[in-house]
Symmetry: C2
Subunit: 462 residues, 2 copies
């Protein structure tokens, strides 16, 4: 039998890693709820037709498809053969696979909104924290199963939503200890205006793609790329002028206003940016004309959250406004705005900065030492009293050398060992050993749970 393994690009989570991940996810979920967002969970599987054609040709290839069952059943076998032919031609066949694993949370959310349109309370604010699957080539930081963490408001065009979403980033990053995050914002309307003043209104995407690379390849290469894409010198220098905008947010706004003095589209976008920064005063917002975001469906404000500059990690979140969430599902004109948190990246940043709260490694507060079967059994009732008070505890499963039992506690990061031998039972006392300091004290068994309650509220005491 070969050594057991898990699929490439997937992970088991347990112990300290899982506690830390859950700390991040729970912090973000709590903030979503504080802002009035409600949870949604959609199935892992979607019908294939729900997903296909939504992510471009490259995306479609990365969707994990699920094999239909009963392919070799006599009643299905002819269809199966036909289906196999299609697959060999590089096409899909619903006779072979009619379901797939979800590729992101946005399309399932759109499918949900379209299906339940009549029942939902608009503006509908949902958050969703679930795994998604992509058949990408696994590499450092890129997984085939990973958790997305999204919040969207749909059915509202008000910029108040953008302000609130920026507030969510601010509150969540602060609670996680990432106070030095930066939220870059821009507006797709300004990029559309840029294409317009270049007299190439149909080339907004071309410009965006080139601009998006500025960080990686630098200004000269971006200019070259624009030239290769057929832009004239005059157009390229307009883009350059735009990319060279610098200074604080107020002066960036001023520079933008000058460049786009006669372009209504961009001026509307600038006005929106101005509105956002006015009402997000205390958030770490940077107006960033070079921010483009790849996804074509954005039409207004776009966001990208970046890790503190002392960590070379880049984007830890992003999002933006869109005009049409559900058009492809037959429900037109649902506008909205959403953000997402990059959970794996945030984990890596917090790990590098070493800012996870201490002592989140174990669920168990106290290990009751096993001093013999009679003594052990009498501790079971004592543990119940502690658990009534929310103090997690366990009994070592068998009488073993003390060393072995302490080692178990230490490996599990348990902070206290409680020793109740026959002498202690007679005297109604027990010994509690602090496993970090090795100090020990004697406590009345009847007062053990109140002792722990006091102790746990004062974690700096030990």
């Amino acid at each position: 039998m070969s050594k057991p393994s898990i699929p490439q690009g997937t992970r088991d989570f347990y112990g300290e890693t899982l506690y830390k991940r859950n700390f991040i996810l729970q912090t973000i979920k709590n903030v979503f709820e504080l802002y009035g967002f409600q949870p949604l969970e959609t199935p892992a599987m979607e019908n294939l037709e729900t997903l296909m054609g939504k992510y471009g040709d490259e995306g479609d290839k990365l969707i994990f498809k699920i094999l239909n069952n009963g392919l070799a059943d006599p009643k299905n076998i002819e269809k199966t053969k036909q289906g196999f032919k299609k697959i060999l031609d590089g096409r899909n066949s619903e006779d072979i696979s009619s379901r797939a694993l979800k590729y992101d949370l946005t399309i399932p959310f759109a499918r949900f909104v379209a299906m339940n349109y009549g029942q939902l309370n608009f503006p509908f604010k949902r958050y969703q924290v679930q795994p998604v699957w992509r058949a990408d080539r696994p590499q450092k930081g890129r997984y085939r199963e990973f958790t997305q963490c999204d919040a969207d408001v749909v059915g509202s065009k008000s910029l108040i939503n953008e302000i609130e979403l920026a507030g969510i980033y601010h509150k969540a990053f602060n609670q996680l200890g990432l106070k030095e995050y930066a939220l870059h914002i821009n507006n797709r309307k300004i990029l559309a205006g840029l294409a317009e003043i270049c007299h190439a209104p149909d080339k907004m995407i071309d410009i965006s793609i080139a601009i998006d690379k500025l960080d990686k390849i630098g200004l000269e290469k971006v200019k070259e790329e624009l030239q290769q894409r057929g832009f004239e010198n005059e157009q390229v220098s307009l883009v350059e002028k735009y990319l060279l905008i610098a200074g604080n947010n107020a002066s960036r706004i001023e520079s933008m206003k000058k460049i786009f003095a006669n372009n209504e589209t961009a001026l509307k976008g600038i006005e929106e940016l101005e509105f956002i920064i006015t009402h997000c005063g205390s958030y770490n917002i940077i107006i960033d004309g070079t921010l483009a975001r790849g996804l074509n469906y954005y039409t207004g404000i776009i966001f990208e959250a970046k890790a503190p500059a002392n960590v070379k990690m880049g984007s830890i979140g992003g999002g933006g406004r869109y005009d049409d969430l559900t058009g492809s599902f037959g429900v037109p004109d649902i506008a909205g705005v959403g953000i997402s948190f990059g959970v794996d990246r945030i984990y890596d940043v917090m790990d590098e900065l070493d800012i996870f709260p201490a002592k989140m490694e174990s669920g168990t507060t106290a290990l009751f030492m096993n001093m013999g079967s009679d003594e052990a059994l009498s501790t079971l009732k004592i543990m119940q009293v502690l658990r009534e008070e929310g103090i997690s505890c366990e009994l070592y499963h068998e009488q073993a050398k003390m060393d072995k039992q302490f080692k178990y506690a230490s490996k599990k990061n348990i902070r206290y060992a409680v020793i109740i031998g026959s002498r202690e039972i007679t005297e109604g006392k027990c010994s509690v050993k602090h496993l970090l300091t090795s100090s020990q004290e004697e406590i009345l068994i009847s007062e053990l749970s109140s002792w722990f309650k006091k102790e746990l509220r004062l974690p700096n005491n030990i």
Copy 2:
């Protein structure tokens, strides 16, 4: 475009349903942690070879297999063709599908333990709450994607684990409000002993399968089934005598001891049962000789938790002890014991008994009414103060008729509306309307968050 839909047997969860589900899951998880169990999450996908052959022929057919990507790539096409032939013959082909969705939590747990054997701290106590997938025919209460909720201790033969697991059932069901649950227990050793005293030690499974049907088909039919399976009259009357054991737990133990007076296997099992009931005094335990549990891998104590008798729902959990978790993954002699909670069943029971805590429908405590754009913007800062105190709130996204805004609050089960118009801003006051009673009071804006803190600690006040 056809109307969007989700795959048969899968569900979207949101709103009240999801809050209620999460209440159940969170309650159970908290109890697991109180008992020193630590969370584990394994991927949705496992390698096909990890799963195949573990669930019997019928189970294998219900595994959802994932299609490999790139089947039509020139470098793969020959293998793909060969693979299709195998599939048409009713076999599996790793060239077509090398991964599958997990079918339960036990096999992935076993795979995890085998993979990480050297690193784990034994006895290893893990809990796992994750979805699993089965290509079963969907029907009422049976889904293709559903959540399992398991806790296991492995690497220990001590019966203390059984006592603690019974304690987990007791505490969790009590916290959920299902105080009238019953925990039926039996021991596979007694069933083995029964086969032995019938002089058919190899027929323990046959006897178990027949006994398992007692509830549904009655004693006479069970006897008929045993006869059909080749049991002699004398054997059948021994089984009958065993099945007719009644009375309280103590007298059941006595009756069992008489029947199995000369059978060591069963006597060992009875002794274990006696030990458990002695130390689980306050739990609702019923010794039930007719309990067999289908899964072959159980070898000791077996559990089945039943819903309160006034709800016709039957089993809401089950589990038992096994000798060999990881043998099929090359790591022998890992004994353990585990339990699971039937989350969907528990939900239905609690819904029928109407015992979910009130007011768990919404995350939002207060809706700030939108009285115009200037007023609205000045509420944003007030909301931040409330959120600092953990009070969830949101601003209606646009100025609209009050009726429309109240309707939004009502649909979202929001309990308070806060009204801050221009007069209120000037006076530093706001009006808070209780949306359940329609009573209204005026509060200083500076005192709003302390007012809410007081109000929310006294939920019976309204």
